[in-house]
């Protein structure tokens, strides 16, 4: 009798304990390519080693099963809970819908599919339509900023990059209508315009069949329609031989409050800032050269000619620039500051070489590549990896720089406790850097057939789509319930009924930096993401959180490029 009572008490205690245990399956909500590495991370506040798991197909038949092994790491910089398990089901390669089951864990719906990312990139391209400036073909709002067609010119005052630029003595105005807003602000940075355009073109070049025509009102599919939007804008940024526009709209864009584009009181007051600045010129020339190549192959000879002429003109002028790179800076804020032009110029030179086959570009490629070397990093301002990868057939020594950088990222991704295999430390715009690094890895592997980076790449892609501390897809997709939805965006903050489809957010940030930011005005402790933050990293899906959820066009373009590469190497 005593034994029975004891048994009942034990069962009750176990049930009681279990009811308070929290276990979370973290996985890629969008799904996995048939041949890819597939894993689920289970985070738990109790030890669930030995617990059985099953993967069932739609007919409820078990296609994979196992028992949870030892916790791979405890609570740490990357892990909010004390027990963390890795479950591999890469053996499942048949396309289909599956259900992952494990005691104490909410069932996880797993997709395995060849053509996995077609809808994702369609959504990402939609984001570009929402950010079009001075265009009637925008989405989610009325068009605005047509007055950029007459932007008053400002020049840098000396060599210092401040916000105190001087108005043109003759109050000349240039037509800078078009392009995209960079992100939350209605400012247009040439670096970001050129960068985004370049990667849209690269994505199309890699995998044209991935893209459809959904929102385009031109004859072009969405990706080319948007690339053309960017290219046409870039043809305006050097209106004469002595002026190059690095930015339209300035710090005053930040000060006036929140508006929809058509209501922006700054719309008719956008300044354009002119300065011969190599980093922006390099990126612009690269985009225009690649645009010429792509549109030429499509038989658009007029467009191709126009883009080529502008690319050559900008690059040629950039070579003669002796002044330091330019950007606007105020109170320590310096969007798209880029002090190192060599990587951008290298990218421009290689694209012009690929377009023209003119051998005179080769020594320039080599010169700039040598100057650029490794960056230990990848962002809009550090295109070293991208440029080196692009020129490896012309300048094989560049491979050394690439592999050095990638090895560094691999080291970080395999460091103790980094269960998500993240390639760099937590920082701002982390997701965007991850995208670029993974794209570089895939390109590198395509050339070298080196597989050592496979796990890092797949883990980072999974991380973007939900396999992370927070179980949150950093790509906003209506079809994924746990998607980011509260963008730091004037357009979406003023229209909360709209879903920011296709946006990709910068994601998790260094905790200390964010905690010290007193403009992050909300109660972090009551946010649903809060329990999944660690001592090192924060993420909040809150429209007041500029650092985590302020999507930008370069970041979304990076995503499109990565997804096209993945589709090419894994989807076939």
């Amino acid at each position: 009798m005593q034994h029975k009572l004891m048994a009942v008490l034990i069962v009750l205690f176990a049930a009681y304990s279990f009811s308070f245990a929290e276990r979370y399956a973290r996985y890629n909500y969008v799904g996995y390519f048939p041949g890819s590495i597939k894993r689920i991370i289970v985070m738990s506040d109790d030890d669930c080693a030995g617990t059985k798991w099953d993967l069932l197909d739609q007919s409820k038949k078990t296609v994979a099963s196992g028992v949870v092994g030892k916790s791979v790491f405890g609570k740490g910089d990357h892990t909010p809970m004390p027990f963390n398990y890795e479950i591999d089901f890469s053996s499942v390669t048949a396309e289909g819908q599956y259900t992952f089951k494990m005691q104490g864990v909410t069932d996880a719906a797993i997709t395995v599919k060849k053509n996995l990312l077609k809808n994702v990139v369609a959504a990402n391209l939609r984001f570009f339509y929402t950010h079009r400036s001075g265009s009637k073909n925008c989405l989610d709002r009325e068009p605005g900023h047509f007055a950029d067609s007459a932007s008053v010119v400002y020049h840098r005052n000396g060599k210092e990059n401040t916000d105190e630029w001087v108005v043109d003595p003759k109050h000349r105005k240039f037509n800078l209508r078009g392009g995209w807003y960079d992100g939350n602000l209605y400012t247009k940075y040439t670096a970001s315009e050129a960068y985004a355009t370049y990667y849209l073109l690269r994505a199309y070049e890699i995998q044209p069949s991935l893209f459809d025509k959904i929102y385009s009102t031109s004859e072009n599919i969405d990706i080319l329609d948007n690339a053309k939007c960017g290219l046409d804008y870039l043809t305006k940024i050097m209106p004469n031989d002595s002026e190059f526009i690095i930015q339209v709209g300035g710090f005053k864009d930040n000060d006036g409050g929140i508006y929809l584009p058509d209501k922006d009181p700054r719309a008719a007051k956008h300044e354009c800032y002119a300065m011969m600045s190599q980093p922006q010129m390099g990126l612009s020339a690269a985009a225009l050269a690649l645009g010429s190549s792509v549109f030429s192959k499509l038989g658009k000879t007029d467009d191709a000619k126009k883009y080529r002429q502008m690319a050559e003109k900008i690059f040629s002028k950039a070579l003669s620039v002796t002044t330091p790179p330019a950007w606007l800076e105020k109170d320590g804020v310096d969007p798209y500051k880029d002090e190192t032009p060599a990587d951008n110029m290298e990218l421009a030179a290689i694209e012009l070489y690929k377009l023209t086959k003119d051998q005179s570009y080769v020594p320039k490629i080599q010169k700039f590549a040598k100057e650029a070397k490794t960056a230990g990093w990848s962002s809009v301002s550090e295109q070293n990896l991208a440029a080196h990868l692009r020129c490896m057939d012309v300048y094989p020594q560049a491979k050394k720089f690439v592999s050095e950088d990638l090895d560094g990222f691999l080291n970080t991704s395999t460091s103790n406790g980094n269960i998500w295999k993240l390639p760099i430390e937590y920082t701002s715009d982390a997701i965007y850097s991850y995208e670029q690094i993974c794209s570089a890895v895939i390109q590198y592997q395509m050339v070298t057939k080196d597989k050592k980076f496979d796990r890092m790449t797949q883990s980072v892609v999974d991380y973007m789509f939900g396999c992370n501390n927070w179980g949150m897809s950093f790509v906003s997709l209506k079809t994924v319930p746990s998607s980011v939805r509260n963008l730091f965006s004037q357009i979406y903050r003023l229209q909360t009924r709209l879903f920011p489809e296709g946006s990709i957010v910068p994601g998790p940030v260094d905790k200390k930096t964010q905690d010290d930011d007193m403009w992050c005005c909300f109660d972090k402790t009551t946010e649903p993401m809060y329990p999944f933050n660690t001592e090192k990293v924060n993420f909040f899906d809150n429209s007041d959180d500029e650092s985590c959820v302020s999507a930008t066009i370069p970041g979304v373009a990076d995503g499109i490029f990565l997804f096209s590469l993945l589709s090419l190497v894994q989807g076939q």
Binding site: G257, I258, L494, Q495, D517, M518, W519, F522, D523
Partner: protein
């Protein structure tokens, strides 16, 4: 059976969803003897529609039909059809339900004094607003650095230029934060303290001891906290502190009081400014009287001494013109009260009531003659309260009271003004309305003339739910449709806390809202109150809306005083 229950639930849900008739009434309830009027607003014509009232047993105790719509959509009426229901004949205490087709049932409380229970809540707010006190609520104490503040003086009598040329420092710890920021404004501390004391004097029986750690009930404990601060404002005969903190307070983001990096660096702005000094004197004199009657002779003598000293300096030749802190480049002036006569009349009247010295009565009369009527009632215009305080000793001021009241009454009776609001929509309009409302009730108590009583009761009802939005403007968890989201760092940073006792600034002018809306930056069209706004008046219970929801100590003191006056009204 189950099916029919489901169908019934669906029907009910549909009915609630499709409600197009809205009953607006006082959620706390009505005294049995008073006039009781309920407003019905409808999106369609419901002329002559039946209504009925049931008692708690379900028995119909009153019924009737709506008449013809009083007015269509207009400045005060958001919907096209508007009706009154008079339920004054409900004069037995109890809980009733008022029903009419298309509307949710209204729960009507008939109770001798429905307002006593709630008054402790707005009194609690003062404890939340406490600066430099270990007895604060909802946050850790902060701003102990105010024990040594650098004293700043006006330069060339310019309100925009303050310098610390004397290098003097003073201890000005204590007081209350004014609103969503951490500034301490002597004008509003003096004003608030005065009306806390008046509320206690008017209806001491409604105040209890819940949070106080002293021998005093909460309201007196708070009043004493304020008085002790006001006494510090004149550390010597040549200094009077009108404000602690400056514009930097608004420019460094969100923080809790104990995390304020400005602590220890806040300036104390000093000026012999009669407006602030007048309120401080009125509070200290009334405080002396009240604490004296409680047998606290030392305290009474201290406050009296300070009151007389501050008054002497306020009317001395070297007292300046009214001063305040302003930032011209931002178009901002902090509590710019430029009319001193009402403030000094109140001060002199209270000093006369305390001391019975003829010189104070002479001064009070002199200032009353200068102040006359204001056409207004707010923190900077205490003409009516001052005149009422003097009425027994200088009956002629009744003319000025009547001049103001008649204007307010006339406005409240305009066609289409279904709520009977006494003023056009303005920033922090509710505070003006309840100031006028309490004045109207006080007038009846002083003169037995009830011609303005209805206006007073209307404003009581308006504060408690009988308004366009059906919003209870005092934060009280136990009341339906209460406000919940004050513009307050303390509650924004700790959203788990309910802002018990906050009183909203209430509806405001559409144009003023539109001017500041871009700075507030939220999707107003998604707010539940949106559909009840008119072309003139708007209200949003949104933490970013500093026009409707930045609760201030002055406004909360107005509300407490209104509750006291209303309680006295029904008690007598």
């Amino acid at each position: 059976m189950k099916k029919s229950i489901v169908i019934m639930l669906l029907v009910c849900a549909t009915m609630v969803q499709s409600a197009d008739v809205f009953i607006r009434y006082n959620y706390l309830g009505y005294n049995p003897s008073r006039e009781k009027k309920v407003v019905v607003m409808a999106e369609r014509n419901i002329d002559n529609q039946k209504w009925l009232v049931r008692d708690a047993t379900g028995k119909i105790v009153l019924q009737g039909a709506l008449g013809l719509s009083l007015c269509g959509r207009g400045d005060h009426a958001p919907l096209g059809f508007n009706y009154y229901i008079d339920i004054s004949s409900l004069n037995q205490e109890g809980v009733y339900s008022l029903e009419t087709s298309g509307a949710e049932k209204a729960v009507i409380n008939i109770k001798k004094n429905p307002y006593t229970a709630i008054v402790e809540k707005p009194v609690r707010w003062f404890r939340v607003a406490r600066s430099g006190s270990p007895d604060c609520l909802d946050h850790k104490p902060g701003h102990y650095g105010d024990t040594s503040c650098a004293v700043f003086h006006r330069k060339n009598k310019m309100n925009s230029e303050w310098t610390d040329s004397t290098k003097k420092r003073i201890n000005i710890v204590g007081g209350w934060y004014d609103a969503g920021d951490y500034l301490k404004i002597t004008l509003t501390i003096g004003y608030s303290d005065y009306f806390l004391l008046r509320a206690y004097e008017t209806a001491p029986e409604i105040f209890a001891k819940k949070y106080s750690k002293t021998e005093f009930v909460d309201v007196l404990d708070e009043a004493k906290w304020g008085l002790d601060y006001l006494a510090k404002c004149m550390p010597d005969t040549d200094e009077f502190i009108i404000q602690v903190g400056d514009k930097i307070d608004h420019n460094i983001g969100c923080r809790l009081p104990d995390q304020d990096t400005l602590d220890g660096k806040r300036p104390a702005l000093s000026c012999l400014s009669p407006t602030q000094m007048g309120y401080a004197v009125a509070s200290l004199a009334l405080g002396s009287d009240i604490f004296g009657k409680m047998g606290k002779a030392d305290l009474a003598a201290f406050y009296k001494g300070k009151a007389e000293l501050i008054y002497r300096r306020a009317v001395s030749k070297d007292a300046t013109s009214p001063a305040w802190y302003s930032i011209p480049e931002e178009g901002e002036a902090f509590y710019d009260d430029n009319s001193k006569n009402d403030n000094l009349e109140l001060a002199a009247a209270e000093l006369y009531r305390l001391t019975k010295e003829q010189k104070y009565l002479d001064d009070a009369k002199k200032f009353a003659e200068l102040a006359r009527s204001a056409g207004w009632r707010a923190w900077e215009s205490v003409n009516m309260p001052a005149h009422m305080r003097l009425l027994d000793y200088y009956p002629i001021v009744k003319n000025d009271i009547r001049a103001d009241m008649e204007d307010f009454l006339k406005y409240s009776q305009r066609p289409g003004n279904i709520w009977g609001v006494p003023l056009k929509y303005v920033w922090a309009g509710l505070y003006c309305y309840i100031g006028i409302g309490s004045g109207a009730l006080e007038y009846k108590q002083l003169t037995r003339d009830s011609r303005y009583q209805r206006m007073g009761l209307n404003m009581l009802d308006y504060m408690m739910g009988c308004n366009n939005w059906g919003v209870f403007f005092i934060a009280d968890k136990d009341v339906p449709h209460t406000i919940r989201h004050p513009y307050s760092q303390i509650y924004t940073m700790q959203s788990r806390l309910f802002p018990e006792g906050a009183i909203a600034e209430g509806p405001g002018d559409v144009l003023e809202f539109a001017h500041d809306f871009p700075i507030m930056g939220f999707d107003n069209t998604a707010e539940p109150t949106y559909k009840f706004n008119t072309t003139k008046g708007v209200f949003y219970d949104n933490k970013k809306d500093y026009m409707s929801m930045e609760t201030t100590i002055g406004g909360i003191a107005d509300g407490i005083y209104m509750l006291a006056v209303a309680s006295k009204n029904f008690r007598d």
